[in-house]
């Protein structure tokens, strides 16, 4: 069973994404902040991280950079799931950070599942 971590400062988003993904057979872990994400990753590895961008203290880019700097975690698959729209430079940075997909909220549940399946398989 694939393990997915959803990182978002809005608990409602974590709950909705968890419901969608659990109904498709994925195991989901939530993290309410970038800090919590990094702490949880120290204890358990995941197959994919869905990362929000707008978060207090550590935003999505900062958290992804910390994951990429960590030799144990650097190969973890990451997709961004956010309400932010990035411009040309932002999209380049996501590519440089090896972010595999960029999903914009609000999202369509079927589309989300399809994109996650594509990343994992």
């Amino acid at each position: 069973m694939y393990k997915i971590m959803v990182v978002d400062d809005e608990p409602d988003v974590i709950e909705v994404v968890t419901d969608i993904l659990e109904s498709k057979g994925y195991y989901v872990i939530g993290a309410i902040s970038g800090d919590e994400c990094l702490k949880k990753l120290e204890k358990e590895q995941v197959d994919l991280i869905l990362m929000d961008f707008f978060m207090p203290e550590l935003d999505g880019r900062m958290v992804i950079e910390k994951i990429r700097e960590n030799s144990k975690l650097r190969d973890t698959k990451i997709a961004v799931l956010t309400s932010a729209t990035f411009k040309k430079r932002g999209v380049e940075i996501l590519k440089e950070l090896n972010v595999l997909d960029y999903i914009i909220k609000p999202f369509d549940a079927d589309d989300l599942v399809m994109r996650i399946k594509k990343i994992l398989e």
Binding site: P56, R61, M62, T85, K87, R89
Partner: protein, 191 residues
């Protein structure tokens, strides 16, 4: 890559740019940049977080920059006392009044045809707001610029802007450095 010679050349290919300026020359080079924008565009929105409108206009005049080409949002003057908005300046009650700043930005775009917006400066906002609130405001401004088909410039202090610059970079098309060589100044792309 060819070095850009002026804002129009850079902004022809990039709707929103981050502009990095050495701390020691920040105010001086930003005024120079405003002067160049004034030569190249008809109407510029200057959002000032911590410089009073009157002081800015004084600096503009000293540097032979026509202030009539600018529309100002002044977030600081009203903290020292009441003042009425003028034909080319909206006074916001305080840099802390985030909703008022947003409303002022919306008002300007509703009433004026703006070619370029310049915010002086995003990193000052982090004195007043949480990191994520600054990011959301800059994202809102970027979206507004897109809808209005207006160009945007986000200037940053090179040494002291901190992590905020890297985060706001996500909302830009390109980052350029302003470089000072004695009295001359110019652009350099970041690779």
């Amino acid at each position: 890559m060819k070095m850009p010679q002026n804002f129009k050349e850079i902004l022809a290919e990039n709707a929103v740019i981050g502009m990095v300026i050495p701390d020691a020359k920040y105010d001086e080079m930003l005024i120079n940049a405003a002067g160049n924008l004034g030569k190249e565009y008809n109407k510029i929105l200057y959002i000032s977080i911590n410089k009073p409108y009157k002081k800015l206009v004084g600096k503009f005049k000293q540097n032979h920059i026509n202030p009539d080409k600018f529309y100002f949002i002044d977030c600081i003057t009203r903290t020292a006392g009441d003042v009425n908005s003028t034909e080319n300046c909206i006074y916001v009650s305080s840099p802390k009044a985030l909703d008022e700043i947003k409303t002022a930005i919306f008002d300007v775009f509703r009433k004026q045809e703006i070619d370029v917006a310049l915010i002086d400066s995003p990193s000052v906002l982090s004195t007043y707001y949480e990191h994520t609130d600054v990011l959301k405001l800059m994202h809102l401004l970027m979206t507004k610029l897109d809808v209005a088909e207006c160009k945007g410039i986000f200037p940053f202090q090179k040494e002291s802007a901190g992590p905020l610059r890297r985060s706001i970079e996500m909302f830009t098309d390109e980052i350029v450095y302003l470089e000072s060589d004695n009295d001359k100044w110019g652009f350099k792309y970041e690779f």
